[in-house]
């Protein structure tokens, strides 16, 4: 088990009260050693832990979970990670706006914007969805931003078999057409 050092940071999607609680807890926890299974830290907010071998971010439990009554999406992007800047804890992405037709964009996003569980998934080529919308929870309306990586993806066996069959048929066709005379050899 690797002990890690705790740092504290509020997340952009924390509300004002939550940010205050996090800030209040910071002096108490900052610099403290924390083991991976340490459950004694019950900070409500976002705890950034940096370890000797890898950096990752965890979210300790927020206030008791309440049910989301409704969610209205206002903006949806699909993104793909193009590079990761570990020094600055940020990553570059290509974004495609799925809400309307417009050219792709490029952006740099702080890793702190991504739930800690997903940090190991931030690697070049990784695909994610970024959803911005209005959430109603306990009759409170707030705007949320949710960046979510596609986890544990696999093609079904049927898809793999069908793809192999089509690929082999296509390879045979390519082989056939390669035997035709070329424009310049005829």
């Amino acid at each position: 088990m690797t002990p890690v050092v705790v740092e504290i940071a509020a997340s952009n999607d924390d509300d004002k009260a939550q940010r205050s609680r996090v800030e209040a807890a910071s002096p108490r926890l900052r610099g403290r050693q924390l083991d991976d299974d340490d459950s004694s830290v019950l900070v409500k907010g976002t705890v950034v832990r940096s370890g000797a071998y890898s950096d990752f971010l965890i979210k300790l439990p927020n206030s008791p979970q309440t049910k989301v009554d409704s969610f209205k999406a206002e903006q949806l992007f699909e993104g793909v990670v193009t590079s990761v800047d570990y020094d600055n804890k940020s990553f570059w992405v290509r974004l495609r706006d799925l809400s309307r037709k417009s050219g792709d964009e490029e952006a740099e996003i702080l890793m702190a914007e991504v739930p800690g569980d997903d940090w190991p998934l931030i690697i070049p080529g990784a695909i994610f969805e970024w959803n911005i919308g209005r959430e109603v929870r306990d009759r409170q309306v707030r705007r949320v931003s949710d960046i979510r990586f596609r986890r544990y993806f696999s093609f079904s066996q049927e898809t793999v078999k069908a793809a192999e069959k089509k690929a082999h048929e296509f390879a045979a066709l390519l082989s056939e057409v390669n035997d035709y005379p070329t424009e310049y050899s005829s």
């Binding site: 206002e74 495609r96 990784a126 911005i132 696999s154 424009e183």
Partner: protein
Amino acid sequence: MTTPLNIPPSHDQLEISLFGHGFGESIVAHLGNGNWIIVDSCVSAKDNIPKALGYLNQISVDSSTSVRLVVASHWHDDHVAGLSDTLEACTNAAFCCPVALGRTEFLELAELYSKAPTAIPPGPSEIYSALQIAARRSKKYKRSLLSYAKSDSMIWASQDRSAIVYALSPSDEMVHRSLNFMTRSYAIAKLGSKILDRLTPNDPNDVATALRLDINGRSILLGSDLESGGNSLVGWRAVLTSVVGPSAKSVVYKVAHHGAKSGHHDKVWSDLLHADPVAIITPFRWGAHRLPTADDRSKILGLTNNCYITSNPKVDPLPPPKRQSKVEAIIQLTTKSRRSLVGTIGHIRWRSPLNDLSNPGDVELFDGALRLAEVD
């Protein structure tokens, strides 16, 4: 004096037009006598049309009959956007791609990734679609309209052999590495992984096709993204030890890999190029990368006085579109920086008389293209 953009070259005039905006490049070449080729593809953000097709339309050249060859030099995103649409429109054209991309290893991978639930097309899709078009077309005409690029191979020639297109790469070792990469990627894709990733090819040195156009005793070198690193079996080092056929040194050079240090080899300039050649470059803006760097620019400017770039690598393209103010506020809070991936596509055009070898030709600049020396 600049010729109006929409005036086509005469039958006895060569043309190399290079288009690029920071993420994407395309080359349109007139090899004389109405024979056109297109190398790589990028798409105009304004109308979502492949830039090569848009330009040929502007100069009243019928793509469907005049384009004889469409080449995909490799399958990096910035070289293939709109490639299959381009080939579809050029109904008389053959298609050429690096040899590894016609192998079952690539076809399996491409077929599988075509099922990936993503909006951004997975890496191999453009090349795969182009292969399908070329196969269908070949079968229809009972004539192979498909060729594969590998080192020292002729991939197209005019009927009178006055214009020949040679591939200088990939070398055998590069092909071997490509196939290894595909086999590995396919095995991972079959097993499933912790993420859904967007497949992108490995090192350009393993895949990129540099071309030499030999036209009526004159040569033009198109460097693709070929790099100089690695051993003598790959990249420029492999090309330099095995150059096809006797030929004059090239008078025009599409500088490899956006002018980056990684694509530079002194011997390319001394052994393959005429003194003081016309050098043309597309910039590359991707994440924190900006190519060519100041050092790259200094090096190139020390090698030729005739260097041009399609757009200024230091100037960001257009800002992204504005959205609803509250949504925009969240986007701005979440991102450190943001910009459109594509902007105005700059255009460098070189034309020269086909039969006057002593004429160095004229360079014209459109849509923000500039002399490399003017990038500060």
